[in-house]
């Protein structure tokens, strides 16, 4: 959902030519065959989606391979490759634990604590970072992982929610379901994916008549405790709204074509105008609002028509 005017411009600006997105996908120990298979399958699915994106570099460590040594080595290597203008996405799938003091990501051999992960990520120079920790008890990892410029998403609201989670399933579903792109601008943002996955997670528990044992949080201010319903207008979710996870192939092609950049700029301008109009809706006469909205939308539709040619 487009909520603030400045976000529209941010989308174009946030896509510097030549910048890449690095995805690191980690599936920890399942403990039982059912979980092993489930975690590995989720990560495989995310890998498939990531690899289909032209500008993404995807690294995967799953099950037995996902040891602390291997993870340190991978992130160390990436820290040397990733540039500040790149984007970085870390997805943790599996079980997590919390002993009242420390969050731990359960992997073969010694686990990695929240502090360990934070230290490893500190070496990554990408100014735009997204960490999606979908494990049980992941809420406890929010505090060590948060920092300015980084979006942290957790499947649970605290370390006390210790049951296996389903958030990962819906996060990955968001990556492949066009419905997750709520504003239909051919770019799926972290905020859109979070909202989609959170809603689906909540409905899962409702429909199964089970007490919800996970309450996803998003933190992107670098200092907050995370929120369940981020609202960029209120301050939370601004970074996430500007963090593009995936773009459609058509959008990627258009952005690379200099001849179309003018049209894209006009499109962004119109979208900003629409945002501004929506922002003022409450203070406007209904008919007038509708008339102006229709005019702007019709023009936007025509620009898009041109872009499609």
């Amino acid at each position: 959902m487009r909520t603030l005017v400045r976000l529209g411009a941010a989308l174009l600006a946030a896509w510097p030519m030549g910048a890449a997105t690095y995805w690191v996908l980690l599936a920890g120990l399942g403990g039982e065959p059912e979980y092993e298979q489930r975690f590995a399958a989720w990560v495989r699915e995310a890998e498939k989606i990531g690899r289909a994106s032209a500008d993404a570099h995807v690294s995967v460590l799953s099950g037995r391979e996902a040891t602390a040594v291997a993870i340190r080595s991978l992130l160390g290597e990436l820290s040397r490759r990733i540039r500040p203008e790149d984007s970085f996405v870390l997805l943790l799938v599996g079980h997590g634990s919390f002993d009242g003091q420390q969050y731990k990501f359960n992997i073969p051999g010694p686990d990695l604590s929240g502090d360990d992960l934070a230290a490893l990520l500190a070496a990554i120079t990408a100014t735009r970072q997204l960490v999606v920790n979908t494990t049980s008890a992941s809420g406890a990892s929010l505090e060590p992982l948060r920092k300015p410029g980084r979006i942290v998403i957790t499947a649970t609201k605290s370390g006390m929610e210790k049951n296996a989670t389903v958030f990962a399933r819906y996060w990955i579903e968001a990556l492949r379901d066009a419905a997750a792109d709520a504003d239909k601008n051919d770019a799926l943002t972290a905020l859109e994916a979070f909202r989609y996955a959170s809603q689906k997670t909540a409905r899962f528990y409702e429909s199964q008549k089970r007490l919800a044992t996970e309450h996803p949080l998003l933190e992107d201010t670098g200092q907050g405790a995370g929120v369940r319903s981020p609202d960029p207008a209120g301050g939370s979710g601004r970074l996430a709204a500007a963090f593009v996870l995936l773009r459609s192939a058509q959008a990627q092609a258009a952005a690379r074509d200099p001849a179309r950049r003018a049209l894209l700029a006009r499109k962004e301008a119109l979208e900003q105008e629409i945002d501004l109009l929506k922002y003022r809706k409450a203070a406007m006469d209904g008919a007038e609002y509708r008339k102006r909205l229709t005019a702007l939308l019709v023009e936007l539709a025509r620009v898009n028509e041109e872009l499609e040619k």
């Binding site: 959902m1 487009r2 066009a178 419905a179 997750a180 792109d181 709520a182 504003d183 239909k184 601008n185 051919d186 909202r195 989609y196 809603q199 689906k200 409702e206 429909s207 199964q208 008549k209 499109k267 119109l270 979208e271 629409i274 929506k278 509708r290 909205l293 229709t294 702007l296 939308l297 019709v298 936007l300 539709a301 025509r302 898009n304 028509e305 499609e308």
Partner: protein
């Protein structure tokens, strides 16, 4: 006879109350002031038991409880004290701890009649069959135990055996001619039979002029016989006689609520609560009434729908359509014309719905009918696929019509049997399932004779007997309709309406003795289930092998052996059924057509797993079988109506097929669900409205779609088209 001697003679029936026997004798005669004085004196007695009885008599239950604790601590080997304390706890809504005290008393003296009676009362409270045996044991231990005799009479009447109930009550009166509770049972039997029980009323009120329980007992039995309106009148009479009966006032409130008379209900329940009657039913009912703000009422000439706000917009179209369809079908078939609307309440929280069934057996019920009011679980109250709410709605609406025809006078087995049978008439995929438990019950000849079938609903003697009884009753109606025609069922219904008992009604309408009907029915049932009964063990073994093969990924083996196992017991459609294993194996082998065929069989057999019905719909759609895909989606919709995807898919397919009005309905519902992709939902509705020529609505929704998602290309194209 001196007054003291008279009191002593009167006190004998209350001997188990020890020091309070005399006070209870006064209360028994309605001499309330004297009785209160008597109890008050006891509260300052030296003996803790006497003080406990005194406080109990004054309704100071907390103090009574404390004194009983002391009394039992003083004489821990005295079973009488434990039994009396248990009776207090039982009266004050704590049957579990009461049962512990009765057990402790029985450990001290195994044949303590009072303790056995206490256990029987606890069991009767939970409608357990063993209550009868316990009451009999109490009578063996003390043949003069009047309460045990009265309890037997009450339970016989609950089972619908008025003759036995009368006999037991008369026995009790033989033991003590002032046994008011026995007179209450006799009066209740008369009310159930539509006779005015003047003799018992007169005799009881002569002994105790303010004996309100005479009427409230009658009311309780009328409730058990589904005559809620009549029960309300008796409750009111009870309270006119004795306004202090706050428990009775609570029951009046609950029954008013059942009938949808919420304001009256609230008044009575609040008064009962304020008077200190704060048992679970009262508190729950008040809480439910307080929750009214969460519900909306949608009313027209035929229906009053009470739906939770969060799902009203989703459920209303389907609830209305199905209710109207069911009412039209049943009114015509049963030749009944309702003169007012039927109230249907759907509860997303099963506990809210359960409040309306408190005091009745079978809290696992999905729906209950109170004359013209139906209360039931909303589809969101249970895990999708665990029940078919439309089938339940038809079942309950059948009760409305059937009970209207006979003015609420028909035995439970027949009313339930007709409703179960009618479910399967409305759709062969609905109705009571033939579960393994039912097969075992048939094989082990556990079905009850028709004349005693009500007992299977009210007082089950083994786990699962209620479900078995539903199945049996449904099959019995099917058998009678097949053998003698539906008109005979109507005649039987009228015989019940004319207050005939089951044996008499069977004799009159079928010309058979009930035992002969039992024999013929069992023979037919066993014949129709012969293959299932004979193949049951082989099916179980086969399923074990099939499941192992499926788990190990031996798909060819599943495909080879699955059909034979499935056909041994084709009604089995629960999780992990042969249909499911076969469909999965076919898909793994890449044979989509075979998987589709298997899932079609599954759906026709009444399978309700939403994920399997979804899979079927996708396979049908992929195969270009639009009509079949729509059928599968509708099946899915009816077990999982709060699922966004089903409305989206069904709407799209209907729109493709040109069924635009139905598509509009689906997309409206989709929007009401607050979908994750609101823009796409608005756009879908805009397209459907456009196809239906409703341009203004189409514009409205395309604008809504683009307001949410300005870059939504398909919606932009539609906008341009609409603005050309």
């Amino acid at each position: 006879m001196t007054a003291a001697f008279l009191l002593l003679a009167l006190a004998r029936p209350f001997a188990e109350a020890g020091p309070a026997a005399g006070c209870l004798a006064l209360a028994h005669r309605g001499q309330n002031i004297q009785a209160e004085n008597c109890f008050a004196r006891l509260t300052s007695a030296k003996d803790a038991w006497a003080r406990a009885e005194g406080w109990w008599g004054l309704r100071r239950y907390r103090e009574a409880n404390e004194e009983f604790r002391r009394a039992v601590a003083e004489r821990p080997r005295d079973p009488d004290r434990k039994v009396r304390w248990g009776r207090l706890l039982l009266e004050r809504f704590n049957p579990a701890e009461a049962a512990e005290l009765f057990q402790e008393a029985l450990q001290i003296r195994a044949d303590h009649a009072g303790a056995l009676l206490g256990m029987a009362l606890v069991a009767a409270h939970g409608f357990e069959q063993r209550a009868v045996e316990l009451a009999r044991r109490a009578l063996e231990a003390d043949p003069g135990c009047i309460e045990a005799r009265v309890l037997l009479a009450r339970m016989a009447l609950e089972d619908g055996d008025a003759e036995r109930a009368r006999a037991e009550a008369v026995e009790a009166l033989g033991l003590w001619q002032e046994a008011l509770d026995a007179m209450a049972v006799l009066a209740a039997a008369d009310w159930i039979a539509d006779r005015e029980p003047s003799l018992w009323v007169e005799r009881a009120l002569r002994i105790h002029p303010r004996y309100g329980r005479l009427y409230s007992e009658g009311a309780r039995f009328l409730v058990l016989n589904r005559r809620y309106g009549d029960a309300v009148q008796l409750y009111r009479k009870a309270l006119e006689l004795d306004p202090s009966l706050s428990g009775v006032r609570s029951e009046l409130g609950i029954n008013l609520m059942r009938l949808g008379r919420d304001e009256e209900a609230r008044r009575e329940l609040e008064r009962a609560y304020d008077e200190g009657h704060r048992d679970a039913p009262t508190v729950n009912a008040l809480r439910l009434l307080d929750g009214a703000k969460h519900f909306v009422i949608r009313q027209d000439a035929h229906l009053v729908l009470k739906l939770h706000r969060k799902e009203a917009a989703v459920l209303e179209p389907y609830a209305r359509e199905e209710a109207m369809r069911a009412l039209a079908a049943f009114q015509s078939k049963y030749r009944v014309r309702l003169d007012g609307p039927v109230r249907i309440e759907l509860y997303p929280d099963h506990e809210d719905f359960a409040v309306r069934t408190l005091g009745m057996p079978g809290l696992g019920a999905l729906g209950v009918t109170f004359e013209r009011a139906v209360a039931m679980d909303s589809p969101s109250a249970r895990k999708p696929g665990s029940f078919h709410w439309v089938s339940t709605l038809w079942h309950e609406l059948n009760h409305v019509i059937v009970l209207a025809r006979v003015n609420n006078r028909a035995p439970r087995w027949f009313v339930e049997g007709l409703a179960v049978w009618e479910e399967s008439q409305a759709s062969p995929e609905w109705g009571e399932r033939l579960t393994p438990e039912i097969l075992v019950a048939v094989r082990e000849r556990k079905l009850l004779p028709v004349a005693a079938l009500d007992r299977g609903f009210v007082r089950p003697s083994y786990p699962g007997q209620v479900a078995v009884s539903y199945y049996q009753a449904g099959k019995l109606c099917e058998f009678m309709a097949r053998e003698w025609g539906f008109q005979t069922l109507l005649r039987m219904l009228d015989a019940f309406g004319a207050r005939q008992q089951t044996p008499q009604a069977i004799r009159q309408t079928l010309g058979l003795a009930p035992e002969e009907l039992d024999a013929r029915f069992l023979s037919w049932l066993e014949q129709s289930l012969r293959a299932r009964l004979d193949g049951f063990a082989a099916w179980r073994e086969g399923m074990k092998r099939l499941t192992e093969a499926a788990r190990a990924g031996r798909h060819l083996e599943v495909v080879r052996e699955g059909p034979a196992v499935r056909d041994l017991y084709p009604e089995y459609v629960e999780a992990g059924s042969a249909y499911e294993l076969l469909a999965t194996a076919h898909l793994a082998l890449g044979d989509k057509a075979a998987a589709r065929g298997e899932l079609e069989r599954y759906a026709r057999a009444g399978g309700r797993d939403p994920s399997l019905l979804r899979q079927l719909a996708l396979l049908e759609q992929e195969a270009g079988r639009a009509a079949e895909a729509i059928g599968a989606l509708r099946r899915w919709l009816y077990v999982d109506p709060l699922n966004e995807e089903v409305h989206r898919r069904l709407g799209e397919l209907l729109l493709e097929q040109g069924q635009v009005e139905e598509a509009i309905r689906e997309f409206r519902v989709l929007l009401a669900l607050g979908p994750a992709d609101a823009a796409a939902a608005h756009y879908a509705l805009a397209r459907a409205c456009h196809a239906a020529g409703r341009i203004a609505e189409a514009k409205e929704h395309v604008l809504a779609a683009l307001e949410t998602a300005p870059g939504f290309r398909p919606a932009q194209k539609l906008l341009l088209e609409l603005n050309r």
